[in-house]
């Protein structure tokens, strides 16, 4: 931690948030809001004189609310940067100054009530997302009595209670009477591995955290009787089994079974725990002085903001999705953006550090190059066909098409470095003047003709985007989900590329059903190009209906890279719809569309 503060090549922006990210791999532009601390970070020596005079008392977050802090505070003594901060929401007021005692007290004059939030603009080549996680809040699990019974605490509260820098100065005691408990219990899997309340996944760290806590207690308070209630003990890492064995050898009792209910004796404030011991096959009652809930981990609440800032995806449990679960575990779908730590899923410190080093190494592959190639999937504009309408410039999510002016008949120009290759311009061009490199209309037409040349009535044409729906289809395969063999997938970079010409050509060639699929709106890898997909499909539904073609035959679906199940389900549903499309309908459609062409 201290090394970060001292490193000449690390610029630490604490108390700051990323507000905007633009650009692309090698060339990201980032806006960071550096929140006003009202204390000069460089000058503050963390002497703490200001704290003594601050009249505002607030619960201390670092100590899990087990002690208090002032409105001007330092989170913990070893904080980096070593500087106090005024929480302006809590301060009595700086404009006008309502109290000002801290500023009067500060000899060095570090406190500046006029300080404002600052916007820092950065240019970077790569980004590592290490936003971490939250700890599960067990208040909702009423049966364990957390918050109702004071002697029921969470593992993080336990960490603070036993810590020498904790609210009790390291003298471990239970909250109600300040006495060292005689009997203490730990309940595992709180908020994890449950379909009911909490999360269905294993949080990975809680078993070993409890083993560690039990050994800490054994070392310092050998007289405390310790019982652990568990579902399975997962001691899978290097050295973990040894630690688990040490804990058992030290006399910690492990009871297989999670308590159904916790009651409190109102007089002694002791806790009565009823549990089915599944090893012994009997119902047991345990009286404990203190109960620790071994809480799991959850994705951060602000994950969605980060997801949108960087065009990332998340799995159904809310953690960030990696490019490939085995082969690209720290890459994200956005080139140049990498994942480290619990942002990707619950993990312990060793794994977080390992992944962080991996992410740093992956980032260096980019940073160590002077120039990196951009895929040749940018648009080419045929100026002989262009009618200067400007639609391409309007639909481009990146503002990469410029100059076009319908009034003065100025033709469009493509800024290739800004183009990410979604192909929406090409799909939306009303005169077909734009060809996307490597993904031209002619190439798609050839695919459709090959696909629908024989037995078209038995096939479903599926347009799937490279980033979400296509890997969603791959995920169905990786999960071995079975679905009817009628689907034929055509990959586009973005669903925005699936233009009217492609969809109508599929129908003209006799396709009974066409599916257009792309990323969910929040996941679109081309900012918002898939909004144009939706508008276009809506437009086509109207057109098909006017032409006497059932609009139901054109389907739309947003499928993420993690939604293999959805992909398989949709394929099954479309197959049922396909069977209902009559040969007469297909023939009629071919005729109508042939006349128009």
């Amino acid at each position: 931690m201290m090394d970060v503060g001292r490193h000449p090549r690390i610029k630490l922006l604490a108390y700051s948030e990323v507000e905007e990210v633009s650009g692309y791999v090698g060339n990201f532009r980032v806006k960071v809001r550096k929140k006003a601390r009202y204390v000069d970070e460089e000058e503050c020596t963390a002497c703490g004189d200001c704290v003594d005079v601050c009249p505002v008392i607030m619960p201390d977050e670092y100590q899990m609310g087990l002690s208090s802090r002032r409105a001007i505070y330092i989170p913990f003594p070893q904080a980096v940067p070593s500087s106090y901060t005024i929480n302006i929401e809590e301060c009595l007021g700086v404009q006008p100054i309502a109290c000002g005692k801290c500023a009067e007290k500060c000899d060095k004059g570090c406190i500046d009530f006029d300080m404002k939030d600052e916007i820092v603009e950065l240019e970077v080549g790569t980004i590592i997302v290490a936003v971490g996680m939250e700890v599960y809040d067990p208040t909702l699990l009423d049966e364990y009595g957390y918050t109702r019974f004071e002697n029921v605490i969470t593992t993080l509260e336990f960490e603070r209670l036993v810590d020498s820098g904790g609210p009790l100065g390291g003298r471990f005691a239970r909250p109600t009477d300040g006495r060292v408990p005689k009997r203490i219990g730990f309940i595992q899997c709180v908020g994890s591995r449950t379909e009911r309340r909490g999360n269905s996944y294993c949080s990975n760290i809680c078993c070993m955290n409890t083993v560690k806590d039990s050994l800490l207690l054994r070392d310092h308070y050998p007289e405390i009787d310790i019982t652990v209630f568990y579902l399975d003990m997962r001691a899978f890492g290097k050295g973990f089994e040894d630690l688990y064995k040490r804990s058992k050898d030290a006399g910690v009792r492990y009871v297989r079974g999670l308590p159904g209910e916790v009651k409190e004796d109102p007089e002694t404030r002791n806790l009565l725990v009823t549990v089915e011991n599944t090893t012994a096959g009997r119902l047991e009652e345990h009286e404990l002085d203190m109960l620790v809930l071994s809480v799991g981990l959850e994705p951060r609440e602000d994950s969605k903001t980060v997801q949108q800032l960087l065009s990332l995806s998340r799995t159904s449990d809310g953690f960030f999705l990696e490019s490939h679960p085995k082969l690209k575990p720290v890459d994200t779908p956005t080139r140049g953006v990498f994942l480290a730590g619990c942002a990707e899923g619950p993990k312990d410190i060793k794994e977080s550090v390992t992944q962080a080093s991996a992410a740093a190494a992956r980032a260096q592959i980019i940073l160590n190059q002077d120039k990196i190639p951009i895929e040749a999937i940018t648009p080419m504009i045929d100026l002989d066909l262009c009618n200067f309408c400007g639609r391409c410039a309007r639909v481009c999510p990146y503002g990469a098409i410029v100059d076009v002016d319908p009034k003065r008949k100025v033709s469009p120009r493509v800024i290739e470095a800004a183009c990410a290759g979604c192909g929406t311009c090409s799909a939306e061009c009303p005169v077909g003047a734009i060809t996307q490199r490597h993904f031209g209309d002619e190439q798609f037409f050839a695919q459709l003709e090959a696909m629908l040349g024989e037995g078209p009535e038995e096939k479903i044409v599926v347009f799937a985007c490279h980033w979400c729906s296509y890997p969603g289809g791959d995920m169905a395969g990786v999960s071995r989900l079975q679905y009817p063999p009628s689907a034929r997938v055509i990959r586009t970079m973005c669903s925005g590329r699936t233009g009217e010409r492609l969809i109508l050509r599929a129908f003209a060639l006799g396709a009974p059903m066409v599916l257009v699929s792309g990323c969910h709106f929040a996941d679109c890898h081309y900012i918002n190009a898939n909004r144009w997909t939706q508008r276009r499909v809506e437009r086509l539904w109207d057109r098909l209906e006017r032409a006497g073609i059932r609009p139901e035959r054109l389907q739309l679906e947003w499928i993420s890279a993690a939604e293999g199940q959805k992909f398989a389900r949709v394929m099954g549903e479309l197959e049922e719809m396909r069977k209902k499309v009559t040969p007469e309908e297909i023939e009629y459609t071919k005729q109508v569309l042939a006349e128009k062409a």
Binding site: H520, F521, R531, Q534, W541, P551, E552, Q555, E573
Partner: protein, 43 residues
């Protein structure tokens, strides 16, 4: 204030009312069959 509009699911045929903002298009999902093939019924 987001307005509301009538929608029809082109997968299962279910008709329902949902918020609709012409300027700021949203993802639509059929509450009955979870399909995204949801068409606004123009009146």
């Amino acid at each position: 204030m987001a307005e509301e509009a009538e929608f029809k699911c082109l997968r299962c045929g279910h008709e329902f009312i949902a918020p609709y903002d012409k300027e700021n298009p949203q993802e639509h999902t059929c509450p009955k069959c979870r399909s995204n093939s949801v068409r606004r019924i123009k009146t």
